[in-house]
């Protein structure tokens, strides 16, 4: 298959950046989107040009490193997958493909398609945990957890922290990300003691990092590679109210 790529190139955080056009020739349909970029990069290196910089690692949709805006869609045209899982057979031979980094103020661009998502880690460090020291845990089966709660907690915990929800949100909100962790830990009895302080601290940090608020357009759910439901945002809101007035 043959494609024309329009790729965002930006040397550094302070560079203005702009689109550049590259051909992607003779790409096997079974190649992943990142493998297609590998092929283009090999060509660029051979001609002495710097390859397109992008974050990636596990290439099986779980580490959350890769995240490209492809033709205006986070992680490309298919639902429920990360960029690395996208296969070129999802495109039509001859397509033009526009590739951009996540664009959100809390995610400054480092180079080309690489952005800095450490703001998400700082939200986690503010309260996205259960405070339990190594060694002081009770016997694992001492506290039963209803299966449905455990399953729902797992649905939320499946978040890979890629930031697609932020990138597609017109407010650059990180509500889906925050709600996934708040929801997971609120559903489990182990998370109960810090239930109020957690939601408070995480939301305060989210605001401090410059992420916006949720205005219920649900673009985040539509583009989430792990199909995290916006119902978790509803639970986040309930948890917040409970923390403030409960």
């Amino acid at each position: 298959m043959n494609f024309t790529l329009k790729v965002w190139r930006q040397k550094s955080r302070d560079d203005r950046g702009g689109f550049k056009t590259y051909p992607a020739a003779e790409i096997p349909p079974d190649a992943s989107f990142l493998e297609m970029l590998d092929v283009v990069n090999e060509q660029l290196i051979k001609s002495g040009e710097e390859p397109i910089a992008f974050d990636h690692d596990c290439r099986e949709g779980i580490c959350g490193s890769c995240g490209l805006m492809i033709n205006g869609r986070a992680h490309g045209p298919q639902r429920g997958i990360a960029t690395c899982e996208l296969r070129m057979r999802s495109f039509t031979d001859g397509d033009s493909i526009v590739v951009e980094p996540w664009r959100a103020r809390p995610f400054p661009i480092i180079k080309d398609l690489i952005v800095d998502r450490t703001a998400l880690d700082r939200i986690m460090a503010a309260g996205g945990f259960i405070s339990v020291r190594t060694g002081c845990a009770p016997e694992a089966n001492a506290v039963p957890v209803p299966k449905n709660n455990a399953e729902e907690a797992m649905d939320a915990a499946a978040c890979i922290g890629c930031g697609a929800c932020v990138a597609v949100c017109k407010n650059s909100s990180a509500m889906l990300f925050v709600s996934a962790k708040v929801s997971q830990l609120a559903l489990l009895p182990q998370g109960e003691p810090e239930r109020k302080s957690r939601v408070d601290a995480m939301l305060a940090q989210m605001d401090a990092e410059g992420f916006g608020a949720c205005s219920n357009t649900y673009a985040c759910e539509a583009e989430c590679p792990k199909r995290i439901s916006v119902l978790h945002i509803a639970r986040l809101n309930r948890e917040y109210i409970r923390a403030k007035v409960g």
Partner: protein
């Protein structure tokens, strides 16, 4: 060099308790005076960093990812073992210990493995308390499943994302300590070398992958939790950035490298489809619980699998191993798959694959049941191959997955360099010549949560620490070496790309140092790797500068180290004239094609010492004694 593993005396079930009592403690008020550098934030690194900080030590944590949560432990699917005996099927610490020593084909240390089995239950307790959403039964209790190489159900799991959930648990504990200021975390830093001062590991040199600057980090001890070296083979189930540079550089600074040839080829991966392919994807071994592996009875049968009637299928594992069937250990399952394909029974477009069929399980329990257990794996398979595994059997083939070898450590997890600790997959660890399923997560977390935090205190409390600073020659010399290496790579300006070289190295490794090894091939591989390495330093083309983000330069430095490690791997495989676990020498097999060990000559850990550039490495041996699990030929029939 005499290797002292420092294994405590006494009966095996009392060794760890007695040892813990004998370890010196750092006074609670003094802990903050010690700084420990932890490199890597996977299961072992994150759990160690968090636990050390909770104890009161100052911790410097680094990783080459942008976030600790991206470490490749995240991709582990199947589960984690612990002998809780929740299923009442006769499990015990002793049985897990026994299974692991046997599974490792009698090439692991008994005392370490027993300790691993002992603390594994605590891991489950700890993770549950952190909020890890393990699978549960309707009564709210934790669910278990069985895994390859075991006849009891002792594996805890969180759908097909157990590694992700365990890592997020450890990551959250790490985040908490970052929040308290006890851990200073540096993202996008790649360790390029180890600093040894007055015979002690006192720091590291790391590259800031955003600015390109080489930075010095000093401390009282260094912990490497940097994972395995499977990417030496180019195609593997490892993440693209997973690399061996940290352990290889430490090796060249004096740490012994143990059993490099013990590499695990995992039986259930999605087969390769073309030369463009950048990595292989694993399908969890748990699939073998409900899937049946088969090939057509007729060679070159081109019918679609659904059209081949049951009577014309060869369920070869069930036929050869009636008691374990599809659940034989990984090394056995992998070798048999290769053998079937070599004989011409392979399936799919490349004929390098066998079927993993869920038809019976779906008929028996329904599609919904399979979906709940393996849904995400089936989706992943569908995404990659465009085939629906609910209807068409999966095609699978073995791929490089895990490395049992690694830096040699004693019972305290300390390498041969005082103050350098190595944990998780990076050490040569507890898995002997073959790792059983659901044991890697167990070992990484055992090292990080429950072993290293005790043993490192003993060293800190007893060693003397002269003041060091990054401006000392011990640091500046190592830093300038690292800088020079990068500048050299950039200045070669040859014709071939880094990937091109890496692919060629990978092909040599897979063809001659892969699933079937023999003396002739290994000798050839050593020569080919040397020649390739020479060519690399003459003809590699690396673009960009060393003063900014440069993915090409990062890769070039890693591949340079694979070129050296690959040779050691082949040499180790050549010297070990026996077959054991994942190391299969074609000259040493039984009439039935099983691995034939040679306990008289090879019941030892091969610990290789770097003797200087251009010199042959020196072999040191740590003899292995088996007092409890008497070596016998492993039988899974």
């Amino acid at each position: 060099m005499t290797l002292d593993a420092k294994i405590p005396s006494g009966p095996i079930e009392k060794k760890w308790d007695a040892h813990r009592f004998n370890l010196k403690l750092v006074n609670a008020a003094n802990k903050r005076k010690y700084r420990i550098i932890v490199v890597g934030t996977g299961l072992a690194g994150a759990s160690a960093a968090a636990s050390l900080a909770e104890l009161g030590f100052e911790v410097t944590s680094l990783c080459y990812h942008e976030s600790p949560r991206r470490a490749h432990s995240i991709a582990a699917q199947g589960g984690i073992n612990a002998p809780k005996n929740y299923t009442n099927d006769g499990d015990s610490i002793y049985r897990l210990f026994y299974d692991t020593v046997k599974g490792g084909d009698y090439r692991a240390r008994e005392a370490n493995v027993y300790r691993l089995a002992q603390v594994s239950g605590n891991i489950i307790d700890q993770c549950v308390a952190q909020g890890v959403p393990f699978a549960r039964e309707y009564g709210g209790m934790l669910d278990n499943r069985s895994f390859g190489g075991a006849q009891v159900s002792r594996t805890f799991y969180a759908r097909g994302q157990t590694g992700q959930q365990l890592l997020l648990g450890a990551y959250q504990a790490l985040c908490r300590q970052i929040g308290t200021g006890k851990i200073t975390f540096y993202p996008r830093r790649e360790m390029l070398d180890l600093v040894v001062a007055d015979g002690q590991a006192r720091g590291i040199i790391a590259r800031n992958m955003v600015t390109g600057e080489l930075e010095s980090y000093a401390g009282n001890a260094v912990v490497l939790a940097t994972g395995g070296y499977g990417n030496t083979f180019y195609l593997s189930t490892m993440a693209k950035a997973s690399n061996a540079t940290a352990i290889w550089r430490a090796h060249k600074r004096g740490a012994l490298f143990a059993n490099p040839c013990f590499t695990q080829i995992h039986p259930t991966c999605i087969p390769q489809s073309g030369a463009y392919q950048s990595k292989l994807t694993l399908m969890s071994e748990s699939l073998r619980n409900d899937g049946r592996i088969w090939v057509p009875k007729k060679k070159g049968d081109d019918r679609r699998p659904e059209e081949i009637p049951d009577t014309e299928r060869d369920y070869y594992l069930e036929r050869m191993y009636p008691s374990f069937g599809n659940l034989v250990p990984r090394d056995v399952a992998s070798r048999r798959a290769k053998e079937m394909c070599d004989k011409g029974f392979g399936v799919g477009p490349t004929k390098q694959a066998v079927y993993l069929d869920f038809g019976d399980a779906i008929n028996r329990n329904g599609k919904a049941w399979i979906e709940e257990k393996y849904g995400n794996l089936f989706d992943m398979y569908h995404e990659i191959t465009a085939e629906d595994p609910y209807r068409t059997p999966m095609r699978i083939y073995p791929a490089v997955h895990y490395t049992m070898g690694g830096l040699w450590v004693d019972y305290n997890l300390m390498s041969t360099i005082p103050g350098l600790y190595v944990i998780g997959e990076a050490n040569f660890s507890d898995h002997g010549a073959n790792r059983l399923g659901a044991s890697a997560l167990m070992q990484g977390l055992a090292d990080g949560y429950f072993i290293l935090p005790y043993t490192i205190g003993d060293y800190l409390a007893s060693a003397k620490f002269p003041a060091v600073s990054p401006s000392d020659p011990s640091f500046t010399q190592v830093k300038s070496d690292a800088e020079q290496r990068l500048k050299t790579l950039l200045s070669i300006r040859g014709k071939r790309t880094v990937d091109d070289f890496h692919k060629q190295l990978g092909k040599i490794m897979w063809d001659y140092v892969g699933m079937g090894r023999n003396a002739e091939g290994l000798n050839r591989a050593v020569g080919m790797i040397r020649a390739l390495r020479e060519e690399y330093w003459k003809d590699v083309k690396v673009v960009g500068s060393d003063a900014s983000v440069n993915n090409d330069l990062e890769r070039a430095a890693r591949v340079a180290d694979y070129m050296e490690l690959g040779e050691l791997l082949a040499r180790d495989a050549l010297h070990r004239e026996e077959s054991c676990g994942g190391h299969f020498r074609e000259e040493y097999q039984t009439e039935e094609g099983e691995a034939r060990r040679d306990d008289e000559r090879f019941a030892y850990v091969a610990a290789w010492q770097h003797a200087g550039e251009g010199k042959d490495p020196i072999l040191n041996k740590e003899p292995l004694a088996f007092e409890y699990v008497k070596p016998s030929q492993r039988s899974y029939k």
